[in-house]
């Protein structure tokens, strides 16, 4: 097996052993099932919310905590003395967190549609584009946290601290139509808010709104560049 394949295998095992990954799957699933028992058939609100929660958890919690911990423990530094460079570890981590996102989203959609009777998404391409951009935006926040946090614990803290206001503004804690207009409007310009709204648009059968896609793209590009600029290997 090549070094990269072996690294991916070992990191996959570590991800599976990490209790955090289980929570990342279980928390949105739990919310989906609890609220899903009282939805009407063909519901278009709950699944976009659950998906946004899941992608947010991976991007804001799993990704930055893992990367900052690896730096804190000197694992990236140790790798840079081997023929394999630490950049490979970054790539493998991004790939695996992406896999975690896809698996979680797939599970949520399967349970939501088949078990709870929620409406299946409209155009598949629109869902894929939205999830890709939303994931890119959330991951870029995670990367920036990983770049700036001093260690794994503070990355974790920053992630949690950001998650709640973002989830609130995104309408994940109460429906947007019950929120003050100003907050709801601000929420649409946050990465998680744009993501949830965009998902809901495509779920109801509409086309994704270009401004919302643009908001996510902007966050993804600007924050990734900032993360790359500030990232330290040690």
């Amino acid at each position: 097996m090549t070094a990269l394949a072996k690294l991916t295998t070992v990191e996959l095992k570590l991800l599976a052993r990490e209790p955090g990954s289980l929570f990342t799957v279980l928390i949105p699933l739990f919310i989906l099932v609890i609220f899903g028992s009282s939805i009407e058939p063909g519901d278009t609100v709950l699944l976009p919310m659950a998906l946004a929660i899941a992608v947010g958890l991976v991007g804001l919690y799993m990704l930055p905590t893992t990367l900052a911990t690896y730096r804190e423990r000197g694992i990236l530094r140790r790798l840079s003395t081997t023929p394999l460079r630490p950049g490979n570890m970054l790539a493998v981590q991004l790939l695996l967190q992406l896999v975690l996102t896809v698996v979680t989203c797939g599970l949520l959609v399967a349970v939501g549609v088949n078990v709870l009777g929620a409406r299946p998404p409209g155009a598949v391409w629109a869902v894929v584009v939205t999830i890709v951009l939303g994931t890119a935006a959330m991951f870029s926040i995670g990367l920036l946290i990983a770049a700036l946090a001093a260690n794994g614990r503070s990355a974790n803290g920053i992630g949690v601290l950001l998650y709640f206001p973002m989830a609130f503004l995104a309408g994940l804690m109460q429906p947007v139509d019950q929120m003050p207009v100003l907050l709801a409007r601000i929420g649409a310009y946050t990465p998680l808010g744009a993501f949830r709204q965009s998902l809901q648009d495509v779920w109801t059968g509409g086309a994704p709104s270009l401004p919302l896609l643009a908001v996510m793209t902007c966050y993804a590009v600007v924050l990734s560049v900032a993360a790359a600029r500030f990232f330290r290997w040690e």
Binding site: L7, V10, T69, S80, T81, P83
Partner: protein
């Protein structure tokens, strides 16, 4: 052949000069010690040699290559154990070794290393569950798994109990016996004295001496002392005064104190035996690297 050549190595952080024109070379097959108190620049120097840090001045060559040049051929041939590194809590011992072995073109069989370093019964244990000594041995095994020509070991016995240190020392000697050049960073005098063929003594960003441990001790001109009690009356002054290497014979109560340089103690005991003089309570106070360090820097080790 010189495996490592360092010339005029300089490193600064902000206004502070960490390394100030450090030069040394390491020969193939030796255990080369880098000794000095904390903050003397030892680790920074070694990290420049490993390619982890970029020097501000001077040149570094390892196996003829520039470690700063991001050259895979060099990293294939070195093994590194770093201070303050950890592995993921949940990785198993065998997984870590198997993974690191896969990074190299021609690795060693990690199963052999597991046996050698006494980790066989911890093969399936997770890193987080290992004791300090087991972690340390795993790190050394990881440094050797790529089958390196040069191994860098930074503070290798920190955190080990005295018996584990002894065992580790024996294993390091075996590493050298296999032809691996070892660079050993340490602030333990006894470790350096026991293991190293040559030592560079660091003090405040400079090298104050490079020599064998014995050479360092002798070079400072320090005198050794031997003490004993005569079991029958005799005049030690006339008996021992002209023994080669002896510089003084005095009495301290009923004890005789002989000072001298080099291997004078052997000559003294031979002379005593030849004259059938029996002694008891024989004690030899050899000078140590501590004394050498004091002589070289004008400071004691702790300060």
């Amino acid at each position: 052949m010189s495996v490592i050549e360092v010339t005029g190595l300089t490193k600064r952080y902000a206004a502070q000069t960490i390394l100030d024109g450090v030069s040394f070379s390491v020969e193939e097959g030796e255990i080369f010690g880098i000794l000095g108190p904390n903050g003397a620049g030892k680790t920074t120097a070694v990290e420049c040699v490993e390619g982890l840090r970029r020097p501000d001045g001077g040149t570094v060559r390892v196996l003829g290559l520039d470690p700063g040049a991001d050259d895979r051929t060099l990293r294939e041939q070195i093994g590194v154990q770093l201070q303050h590194t950890q592995l993921p809590e949940n990785i198993k011992v065998w997984e870590a070794l198997d993974l690191y072995a896969s990074f190299y073109a021609a690795p060693r069989d990690w199963r052999e290393l597991v046996e050698q370093w006494g980790l066989a019964d911890k093969r399936d244990a997770r890193f987080g569950k290992l004791s300090g000594g087991q972690k340390q041995r795993l790190f050394i095994a990881l440094a050797l798994v790529g089958n390196p020509r040069v191994a860098f070991l930074d503070e290798l016995t920190t955190g080990l109990d005295p018996q584990a240190r002894r065992v580790t020392w024996e294993l390091i000697k075996r590493v050298r016996a296999n032809g691996v050049t070892v660079v050993l960073v340490s602030h333990f005098m006894d470790e350096v004295e026991e293991l190293c063929d040559r030592v560079a003594v660091f003090d405040r960003g400079r090298i104050v001496a490079v020599d064998s441990p014995d050479g360092l001790i002798e070079g400072t001109g320090a005198e050794h002392q031997m003490r004993f009690t005569l079991m029958a009356p005799a005049d030690p002054g006339t008996l021992l005064g002209d023994v080669p290497g002896v510089s003084g014979v005095t009495r301290d109560g009923d004890q005789v104190v002989v000072t001298g340089r080099g291997d004078f103690a052997t000559a003294v005991t031979a002379r005593l035996a030849r004259h059938h003089v029996l002694v008891s309570d024989l004690r030899i106070d050899k000078r140590t690297l501590d004394d050498a360090f004091l002589a070289l820097t004008g400071r004691t080790w702790e300060n």
